[in-house]
Symmetry: C2
Amino acid sequence: MKAKPIILKLGGSVITYKDKPSTPNNEAINQLAYEISKANVMPLVIVHGGGSFGHSFAEKYGINEGFKESSQMIGFSKTHQAMAILNKMVIEALINHNIPAVEVQPSSFVVTKSGRIKKMDTRVIEKLLETGFVPVLYGDAVLDSDKGFAILSGDQLISSLATQLSAKRIVVGVDVDGLHTSDPKKDKLSAKLIQHVTLKELKKMQPKISEATVTDVTGGMLGKINELIPAVEAGINVFIVNALTQDNVYKALKGQKVVGTIIE
Amino acid sequence: MKAKPIILKLGGSVITYKDKPSTPNNEAINQLAYEISKANVMPLVIVHGGGSFGHSFAEKYGINEGFKESSQMIGFSKTHQAMAILNKMVIEALINHNIPAVEVQPSSFVVTKSGRIKKMDTRVIEKLLETGFVPVLYGDAVLDSDKGFAILSGDQLISSLATQLSAKRIVVGVDVDGLHTSDPKKDKLSAKLIQHVTLKELKKMQPKISEATVTDVTGGMLGKINELIPAVEAGINVFIVNALTQDNVYKALKGQKVVGTIIE
């Protein structure tokens, strides 16, 4: 039997400064590369978000709304380019820590349908893993069979990859300690960390979000977690940890106890 | 009927300084982006070489000899990373000239067999072209089903793309005027430009290369052209021009007369 991979997500808010356009958090990127190298768990797939690199272009040109006018095309180019540049920075740090990391560009082989992955061709990723490489994917601007183009989020990617590759577990590194009862960045005193949540409990939490439609009381975390439900349903555990706290990602990769949210 | 694309190759010796490690020729890259923008021919696929970016790592780690020892793995990572960084520079220049250029990473969807492309999945490239984008591919370190990994040259890529996409013509931009009777860089006085060559004549020229095995009397040009034979056999004309001579690429894209070699 093939070894089951761990899927590690590095949030855009961790590896970039979200409020400064196209500004990487080099210190965090290097620290994470160090922790990944120290953990030395294989097979491993890394997926990173866009943070202030992809989001600003995607938003400016309305990429996720689909193809409406030709002026958006250069925006699609710029969005992918920004994501690819951020990916180069992440890969550079991983290589510097002697990790045989290899970019896998989502937009070169994934076409979504109304923004959703139908089925991903994971043959190259599987072959990279078998050879001993660490594939590194990222949220990307992709072609879409219904609306021309769309944004494929890193969260949708990890869920799809985890399911198709029968992942051992998913580790999601974010800039807060996990899922809270409200937004921990706004309600510093009242927001309580939910350390453990089952699929059943998670599904019960959904209506609260639907009522709010745009604003997610948890500060966006529940929206991210929603993407992971298919993976949890497939029996894959999800660990959400604060990747900016030293050694959290190292410990989570090793399967050690970390303050955070476990979904199982 | 779908419009037939032009395939433009930008040689590594054009867009980089071949004798300086990882040094782009920014002036040439910008001039070429300007000429491509001015020509405004669509549909268009661009493929670029590695020059001093990919070659040094590929050679150092023996990537094209296949997987022999685990120490090569980081070399595979570095080779792709170098190629992807060069690609970012080419795309940046194209975007600056308002060309909706989009990277298509060969190693993310092509697996060779003993260094050769069997069949490429060109669906994403075709969809990019239909939408009006300019896909930009490059020579890359790829996985190989027989030898673990291999180098997929830009020349093999353009031949394969041209055949599968039924290209209108192939324009190959190099740092000499075309195919010569001997190496124009070494034999400045005696090397004569072959302005026109048929497939039949080209095939007759082959034995001379086989005898020499390692050294190609034409300075490597015949080796490059060999890769293009399948495309020429499919009825696709090839124009080899000096891309460092101003307006050559512009004219060749437009189908205007340029000093160079025509293979038909």
